[in-house]
């Protein structure tokens, strides 16, 4: 048992989990609350990563880039929810999926026009290494884990403690009853959607230094987001977190064992879970 190999692999896995969790949150919660599989979440991820790149180029400040990425993601999310998605609520699932996927394609086309086709590198803002059990771990990875954890705790706090959160949870249970109580459900949808888009944007900005920022980065991430939400179950935040943790470790530890496993193993895990439980680990039952 070689510790110098496994501890970095596990920490690496957790940081991947953090990114996956942030990015898939919108896909999952959008399904739970609005019954829309909003595939265009990956667009906010892409745009936010590009904003980070631009800000780093212009000002040299990564954190400003991260902030602008999150804000831009939230603004686009707001525009999309109020202008496009509001027209598709209540339509059949296949209709909404095709609409959001085509919007994602339009967005990718626009990104290509603005930033070009060539992948752009973003340098890591923190280059410090930290020693854990004698192993050198990049501080930036630990920061990603901490951020994702903080986002999860914050969202749980909002959901459990505030009136807004209670309304959201009630909306996931039954949108009709919530509306009957006199709560403006459209506003709940918009606020939730902005939070979810902001999280996807945060994921994109945090992931920018770890991958090359390119127009198709959203497609690569879409695959992992799919696997995460299918495994965890659409509509469950807890399920998304747990499946992100599983997938991250499977990719990292599996990849350390045998490199092709990094790509194939998550799919195999998802496949077997779906075979046993068609709604994923914590899927919302009822209208699908």
């Amino acid at each position: 048992m070689n510790l110098t190999l496994w501890i970095p692999a596990i920490i690496f896995g957790f940081s991947i989990s953090g990114i996956f969790f942030l990015v898939s949150l919108g896909l999952s919660i959008g399904f739970g609350l609005m019954r829309v599989v909003n595939l265009e979440q990956m667009l906010y991820y892409t745009v936010s990563a590009y904003m980070t790149y631009t800000m780093v180029r212009l000002t040299g400040m990564f954190w400003l880039g991260l902030l602008s990425g999150v804000v831009i993601a939230g603004i686009i999310g707001f525009a999309v929810e109020t202008q496009l998605l509001r027209r598709v609520y209540g339509k059949p699932m296949l209709f909404t999926m095709v609409v959001t996927f085509s919007f994602f394609l339009i967005g990718i086309g626009a990104v290509q026009y603005i930033w070009g086709l060539a992948p752009k590198p973003v340098s890591s803002p923190i280059k410090t290494m930290i020693g854990i059990f004698g192993m050198e771990i990049p501080l930036y990875r630990l920061l990603i884990i901490a951020t994702a954890g903080a986002v999860y705790v914050l969202i749980q706090l909002i959901l459990q403690k505030t009136i807004l959160g209670k309304a959201i949870r009630a909306g996931i249970e039954s949108p009709e009853n919530l509306e009957a109580l006199g709560i403006n459900i459209n506003r709940i949808f918009t606020i939730t959607f902005i939070i979810a888009s902001g999280c996807a944007g945060l994921g994109g900005a945090l992931n920018a230094p770890l991958v090359m920022v390119g127009p198709y980065m959203g497609f690569d991430m879409l695959l992992y987001a799919f696997i995460t939400v299918i495994l965890g179950g659409l509509g469950s935040i807890k399920g998304t977190l747990i499946s992100a943790l599983i997938i991250g470790q499977v990719i990292s530890v599996g990849g350390t064992l045998w490199s092709p496993l990094a790509f194939v193993a998550p799919f195999v895990v998802m496949f077997f879970v779906i075979l046993i439980k068609p709604t994923g680990l914590y899927g919302v039952k009822g209208v699908v």
């Binding site: 699932m93 095709v98 299918i230």
Partner: protein, 335 residues
């Protein structure tokens, strides 16, 4: 009466139209060959989308499977293109039967997502995992390995066009028969009310399984035809980003109809041909086109034509014929 005859002659008319157009525009032969192949591909998706009510973002995966089954056979094992095509269909059959039970149990949203994931895995397998036999992104070339068929030499574009047209005719006949058969009716029943179909006593699981398998057979068959047409395959055949193209083509033609796929393929490839002269990156246009078709033109081309024909028929037969028009069963399904 004339409508019934028209209905019976449908496949022949479609094939004649393609052939006539091919001779009117002799330098566009590869375009018309592609239309014929793409029609078969769109038919596969139409069975899923238009009949079963399932949306799949992973259709290119099946295209890739068919293409690689054909290419691997022709490159390493045999020389006969017909056997390679049969192998392509066989691969769809195998994948449909194997993947079917686990896939069709899923609700429509999960079905779409798992197919998209499968598609990305497929590209990875063709591109990197099996790089020793598929040659990765360089593509697998096999044109020189193909042998001549007794009557047609499929290596030549002209005779391959004829071959594809004959194949298209046969496939259209089969497809039309499927649409009129009990199975086709059950597919539609499944979409409108699955519970009731179960209540009557049909095994909806089996119906879906059969539908899924037929759809994957159509798609892999189109993939094999593509492979033989180009003489090589590379992983871009199964690319994920192209998944929505076939859905646009289905919608554009009119989903759930017999001749919709042909018109969809024709219109989609035509638009692509014209637009790609000015715009190199094609995603933007596909996306806008899809949203426009979904919101403003949901009947599709064939659906609109059918409505128009129905209007003429009503005017011809006058107001004394108040029965619902017969012989237009696919019109009702298109809605």
């Amino acid at each position: 009466m004339w409508k019934k005859t028209l209905d019976r002659l449908g496949p022949l008319l479609v094939v004649l139209l393609v052939t006539v157009l091919r001779y009117l525009f002799p330098n566009k032969i590869s375009f018309f060959t592609e239309i014929a192949i793409y029609t078969i591909y769109v038919m596969g998706n139409n069975i899923l989308y238009g009949y079963l009510g399932l949306v799949s973002f992973g259709q290119p995966f099946y295209l890739g499977i068919g293409g690689y089954a054909t290419a691997l056979f022709l490159a390493y094992v045999g020389h006969n293109p017909l056997v390679a095509l049969l192998l392509g269909i066989g691969s769809g059959l195998v994948f449909g039967i194997v993947l079917g039970p686990s896939f069709i149990r899923l609700k429509s949203s999960y079905f779409a997502l798992i197919n998209a994931a499968l598609c990305a895995i497929g590209v990875f397998i063709f591109e990197r995992l099996l790089i020793d036999i598929t040659r990765g992104n360089d593509g697998l070339w096999f044109r020189s390995n193909m042998s001549k068929l007794p009557l047609l030499d499929v290596r030549l574009p002209q005779s391959f066009f004829l071959f594809v047209v004959i194949v298209l005719f046969l496939v259209l006949m089969i497809y039309r028969h499927l649409d009129r058969s009990t199975l086709g009716t059950m597919f539609r029943g499944l979409q409108s009310n699955e519970e009731k179909l179960k209540f009557i006593g049909y095994d909806t699981f089996k119906i879906k399984w059969v539908g899924f398998t037929i759809a994957s057979c159509f798609s892999t068959f189109a993939g094999s035809l593509y492979a033989i047409n180009f003489g090589f395959v590379n992983p871009s055949l199964g690319e994920n980003s192209r998944a929505v193209e076939v859905i646009v083509a289905t919608l554009l033609g009119g989903s759930g109809t017999v001749y919709g796929p042909f018109f969809g393929a024709f219109a989609f490839l035509g638009i692509k041909d014209i637009v790609s002269r000015w715009i190199t990156r094609w995603e933007l246009v596909v996306g806008i086109l899809t949203i426009l078709v979904l919101f403003r033109f949901s009947k599709g081309i064939w659906g609109t034509i059918q409505q128009y024909l129905l209007g003429i028929q009503k005017r011809v037969s006058g107001s004394n014929d108040i029965r619902s028009p017969k012989g237009s069963r696919s019109a009702g399904a298109g809605s």
